[in-house]
């Protein structure tokens, strides 16, 4: 059997600026990010023979290949379930490289999520299709339960009830992310930290979530170059080894409304991912110096800390209140500011930050980073990575 851990690496990262109105097509954004990632790696488009993106991306692999000048493709793949795809794209690329299906694969995500189609806006059509997903949505959409904030809020309310968690506990996550973003020039909220009082005073989106519990909406693109560890060692940058990569869905899983299967206080699919990551890498929570935890909504940052074993069930509120997720905390989370602070690029910008942390080049560099854990979309079938230094 081909072994995944350590045999592949992320050799290049690239991104556009993060904005609210890119003024360019999504395909142009994709092309710009791919060029930037290839430049970073010291590779040219002709070196690329594989492309992977999200099923939700509007830019087909062949279209990106045409714009960038990539020739023959021997591997192309899409990963499903919204932001849950983020680390999955790297898993697919790594599997292709490890098995010799492709040599150099670029993963990309590009969208005008603020100036174009906004995921947070209700779309009456999502419940109308007699596909398995449309039928699933049909138990929720007719009741007006049809935005990601609302789907997550339903879990958050139960989590608060089970563990005595408060809105302030969620707010502390937002405050930490905005504090990190404040010192990151690439972040949309660079220089704009918030206070817990401002979090509490922000308007309701879907109770118990305030506006400042919700990540921003962004235009932009991120691309990653995945190749063999051996090849990466000869390239411009020191490689970020893919120590583990996993996807996960749980029993009784629904797209984002898994309300029917358990206590609604955990993220079983992230538990699946976490177990695979620890098994593959041979590492445990104590071996991780910093984590990129998907933060589209604050409550699931707490849940992930518990689900991945960084603290016990119901203990995340104390972990966060005690400064655990700060840059100098027990587990610095999202040093770039996350999607609450830097940008919402569907989790791809977090993987780029993980690579910078491994290289030691982040603007908010954590000391002594050897291993970084990265997660993808929460509340959906998801994925995760552990990136490691040589």
């Amino acid at each position: 059997m081909v072994s995944l851990p350590g045999s592949t690496a992320v050799a290049g990262i690239g991104a556009t600026e993060f904005s609210k109105q890119s003024g360019r097509s999504e395909l142009q954004l994709a092309a710009e990010a791919v060029f930037a990632a290839l430049d970073d790696a010291g590779l040219s488009p002709s070196d690329v023979d594989g492309l992977v993106t999200y099923t939700q991306d509007t830019n087909q692999e062949i279209a990106v290949a045409r714009e960038v000048g990539i020739g023959d493709l021997t591997f192309f793949s899409r990963v499903h379930y919204g932001g849950g795809a983020a680390c999955g794209t790297v898993l697919h690329a790594a599997m292709a490289v490890a098995t010799g299906v492709a040599e150099t694969v670029v993963c990309y995500r590009a969208f005008n999520e603020r100036s174009g189609r906004r995921f947070g806006q209700p779309d009456a059509r999502i419940g109308g299709e007699p596909s398995s997903q449309g039928l699933e949505m049909s138990w929720h959409v007719p009741y007006g339960l049809m935005t990601p904030a609302a789907w997550v809020a339903m879990f958050a309310r139960r989590y608060m009830h089970a563990y005595g968690v408060t809105s302030e506990d969620f707010g502390r996550v937002a405050v930490a992310m905005r504090r990190h973003a404040a010192t990151n020039p690439a972040a949309w909220f660079h220089g704009r930290p918030i206070t817990l009082e401002e979090h509490q005073a922000s308007k309701w989106i879907v109770e118990p979530l305030h506006l400042l519990d919700c990540c921003q909406e962004s235009d932009g693109a991120v691309a990653l170059v995945v190749t063999s560890a051996e090849r990466a060692r000869d390239l411009r940058r020191s490689p970020a080894l893919i120590g583990a990569a996993a996807q996960g869905a749980g029993a009784g899983q629904l797209m984002m409304t898994s309300y029917y299967r358990d206590e609604m206080t955990g993220l079983p699919e992230m538990g699946v991912v976490g177990r695979r990551l620890w098994e593959q890498s041979g590492l445990g929570p104590a071996d991780i110096q910093t984590a990129i935890l998907y933060d589209h909504f604050t409550p699931f940052v707490l849940t992930q800390l518990e689900e991945l074993g960084f603290c016990g069930r119901g203990e995340a509120r104390d972990f966060v209140a005690g400064g655990g997720i700060e840059i100098d905390g027990r587990l610095p989370v999202n040093p770039h500011g996350g999607q609450l602070g830097e940008a919402y690029i569907h989790g791809m910008n977090g993987i780029a930050e993980a690579v910078r942390q491994i290289r030691g080049t982040s603007v908010n560099q954590v000391a002594g980073v050897r291993n970084v854990l990265v997660t993808a979309g929460t509340g959906v079938p998801t994925s995760g990575l552990i990136l490691s230094a040589e």
Binding site: L135, M137, R158, T257, Y259
Partner: protein, 319 residues
């Protein structure tokens, strides 16, 4: 109304307007309270006006005014008749015109202009008196609201016979458009469920006032949301039970933003746990959102959303 009758009405209204203009200025009732600090303080706080010359005696003493003065924009406040309008309100030359318009079917009213001119600041203890002049009537005009007349008047406020402020005020008195919607034609509800062979039994049940839960015909397992294959025994033989219709709120949200098509905010959506052992999502209605809580006992109700769709929803059990 015939064209002749319309012309007669118009002539009568314009003649009335001419008479009321000729009446000239009519003094009203002086402010109920003299200009005072408590009212200034409330108004300034409500408007977010932090200028200390309105509220801080020391700061005001050092200003060009030499003492506390009232915000000029408060002028109308001092002589507003208040909720209890009986007895204290003097008649004005505008009243007859407004009444005549009401009596002719121009019952709608919307303010279109309010222009104020301030001659000087009012000081504490002054007691302004309004005086009203009818200024003009124009119309009939076709507007988006309906056909109407513009009615204009002026008010001058005096303090000890010295004019301190003027206001031009204009309203549109209009005939509200007739509602054309027939009560039997409902707007189609935009949030329709998709329905297929696996889920039709549920929606047929809703149409009959039954809350149906899928039941495996072989092993008896209940399941919601339903599906074609029993996860316990692989049977595709399906039947259903009718739920008792009671349940308990397991979790819930209150949706505020963004707006949802077909819905007015805020509204409550809950995961309801049924004693039969399954959970189902639905709205909690007939209950203020702040009174909904986890553990709340609810019972099912059925709401007609449009000509076709009925949705099961939940109300507090005690109601």
């Amino acid at each position: 109304m015939t064209a002749t009758a319309e012309a007669d009405l118009h002539d009568r209204l314009m003649a009335l307007a001419e008479r009321q203009i000729a009446v000239g200025e009519v003094r009203g009732v002086a402010a109920a309270d003299p200009v005072n600090l408590p009212m200034i303080r409330h108004w300034a706080a409500a408007m977010g006006d932090a200028n200390p010359v309105y509220t801080d005696a020391e700061a005001a003493a050092g200003s060009a005014h030499g003492e506390i003065v009232a915000p000029p924009a408060m002028i109308q406040v001092w002589t507003m008749p208040g909720v209890d309008r009986d007895g204290r309100q003097a008649t004005t030359p505008v009243d007859d015109v407004l009444r005549a318009l009401d009596g002719s079917g121009y019952t709608g009213v919307v303010a279109t202009n309010c222009e104020q001119t301030y001659h000087r600041y009012l000081r504490l203890g002054e007691r302004p008196v309004p005086a009203t002049r009818f200024a003009g009537l124009s119309g009939p005009k076709r507007t988006a609201l309906g056909e109407g007349y513009f009615v204009t008047w002026n008010i001058t406020w005096y303090s000890q016979d010295e004019p301190v402020a003027d206001m031009l005020f204009r309203v549109l008195k209009f005939r509200p458009r007739e509602r054309k919607t027939k009560p039997e034609a409902r707007e189609p509800y935009p949030l329709k469920p998709a329905i297929n062979k696996d889920t039709a039994f549920f929606w047929e049940g809703v149409g009959r006032g039954e809350l149906r839960i899928q039941r495996c015909a072989d092993c008896g397992e209940l399941r919601h949301p339903p599906g074609p294959v029993c996860p316990s025994c692989r049977s595709v033989e399906r039947t259903h039970v009718v739920a008792s219709g009671v349940g308990e709120v397991y979790s819930y949200v209150v949706h505020h933003n963004p707006p949802v098509p077909g819905r007015s905010t805020p509204f409550v959506v809950a995961v309801v746990e049924l004693p039969e052992g399954v959970r189902i999502v639905g709205n909690v209605v007939d209950c203020p959102p702040e009174e909904v809580g986890i553990g709340m006992q609810v019972r099912v109700t059925y709401r007609q959303m449009d000509d076709e769709l009925i949705l099961p929803m939940w109300v507090p059990q005690e109601s």
